[in-house]
Symmetry: C2
Subunit: 329 residues, 2 copies
């Protein structure tokens, strides 16, 4: 445990570094506290011994280590009140009734990304918990159909089907009815096996073009189970951070953004606001990921922000919390 002065020094170092991205010297701290730089250097030595701060080279000022950020977040930091400016920007979104809910969420995260220069991620609900609500088929022309699958939480997935030869609309109706009878209410991740072992045997008996129909539905359901419905906003904003003044780091993170590793590293499930600093997250050692789950009408999702470890934790926590509460309202 740190004494009061040590705590204050760590706090200053973290907050100063968050603001300036430069190592903090004992001299600069000396001006803000009532003791000499030598005293501060002694305390810094202690903090360094305990792994809370680091040097960039032997005679440099100090920067927070990952553990330092962690200690700061857990024991020192307090959420920061949202400024009137930020509040105003967000409210223009929340009080715009013409926006649909999903758009509101995305827009508000986009704004947060803009005002913070971090990258925002909105992860749609984990669809494996959704259940099939309805299956529809709409004919487009003689041999083209669209299959539409709807879940109880309001997700919609669709597929084009191209039929070779002619299929009577009766056969189509039959198939759809059968699927509706057997599949509705099934959790989406159990559908494929149910399709294969319950639906397939039956339709292959009664329906001539069963294979085309079966495949189309099979694909639609499969995609459904895998699609994570990710929206990213402000990929380019995080590149403005000075930690990305390095070409290779930029290339690296941009290509990681393109892959879907991020989805996996965000997926873990905990309540409240979770913070993963540097190597605490699976995504990239250079960043902090902060995320929270939301739930509206039984429909779950995740909001996340990706920024440098040198993130304005106190501000971001408040912002995320504010958004979460507003969309859940």
């Amino acid at each position: 445990m740190l004494n009061q002065r040590q705590t204050e020094i760590l706090k200053e170092i973290v907050e100063d570094y968050i603001e300036t991205a430069r190592p903090i010297s004992s001299n600069s701290l000396c001006k803000k506290m009532k003791c000499s730089s030598a005293t501060i250097r002694n305390e810094m030595g202690f903090l360094e011994e305990n792994g809370l701060i680091e040097k960039t080279h032997i005679s440099s000022g100090r920067i927070p280590s990952e553990q330092g950020y962690r200690y700061y977040v857990d024991n020192i930091m307090k959420p920061k009140e949202i400024t009137g400016d930020d509040m105003l920007k967000l409210q223009t979104i929340f009080y715009n009734n013409s926006l649909m809910l999903d758009d509101t969420i995305i827009k508000s995260m986009e704004i947060i990304s803009e005002i913070t220069n971090y990258t925002a991620v909105v992860l749609g609900s984990a669809s494996s918990e959704n259940k099939v609500n309805k299956v529809e088929v709409v004919p487009l022309s003689e041999n083209r159909l669209i299959a539409i699958v709807i879940t109880d939480k309001g997700h919609v997935e669709h597929r084009n089907m191209l039929l070779e030869g002619r299929v009577s609309s009766d056969e189509i109706k039959q198939t759809v009815e059968l699927i509706n009878k057997l599949i509705v209410g099934t959790p989406i991740n159990e559908v494929s096996s149910k399709l294969e072992f319950e639906v397939k045997p039956i339709i292959s008996k009664y329906v001539k073009q069963h294979e085309v129909l079966y495949n189309a539905f099979y694909n639609a359901f499969n995609d459904f189970a895998n699609n994570s419905n990710v929206v990213m906003k402000g990929t380019s904003h995080i590149l403005k951070q000075p930690e990305f003044n390095d070409i290779d780091k930029i290339r690296d993170i941009v290509s990681k953004f393109e892959g879907n590793e991020m989805v996996n590293s965000i997926k873990e499930e905990e309540n409240g606001i979770n913070i993963y600093i540097g190597s605490e997250n699976e995504f990239d050692d250079n960043v902090t990921i902060i995320k929270t789950k939301y739930e509206i009408n039984g429909n779950e999702g995740t909001l996340a922000l990706i920024g440098p470890k040198r993130m304005e934790y106190d501000r971001v926590i408040s912002l995320l919390d504010y958004i979460k509460k507003n969309i859940e309202r």
Copy 2:
């Protein structure tokens, strides 16, 4: 017009520069041709006077100018046969029958992006030409509905609706029937006015919760007209190109990729394969955009590649052409 030797020199300069990204000296050309470096320097002077090549500084070798690339593409270059390697990679996609058409297109463009290190863009059909085929409403719970709109070309758009208070399912049916009656067959970009001036007056008379229903449909149709259905693959690949060894250029292009300026700069409509070199495109002076339209069953779309001006034109043209023909088959 250039004489034979000048043509050969320009060809060498362009192709060499495409390969190495370094200025080409008279000496290096001299080895590949049967004349001295001095002669080549004279010819280079001529080419430079005509704006086809440039120097990076007063005593540097030459690089192609935009006009030089243009001349090369128009008059010198011949499409290059696709290598067995590239062909193989693409065929694993085309002969994978389990993939849906859209996925095939995207996957194949993704592969092209990978083997060329350019960025691929697939632009869905210009939906303003689509006509409404059907409108559906599916109830989720007492006060939640999903509105689904389907066009004749098989696009599907949907919206969640939250009803305040109770709406009889009769009213919903009525509205949907009315919309179907009045709107089906209307081109998507004319729908909003038709909704406002023909549908709204009628439902506001007969339907109590008309506003919620009307808004939901209005939004769905609006999105439809604006959504361009863009898929980008390999945003990070182009960053490997040496022209993006500059941090500011990277930041610039990544943020341009995020915006939708690109969609606009790709939208122009011409047949065949179109090449926009540097300032010929609206997107970014540092890149070349090469694109082509495809059409399947009346459903149009655009394939595009974005690379440095120093692009392997001969290879890319063949690849695009190959993909286009394969998906249209």
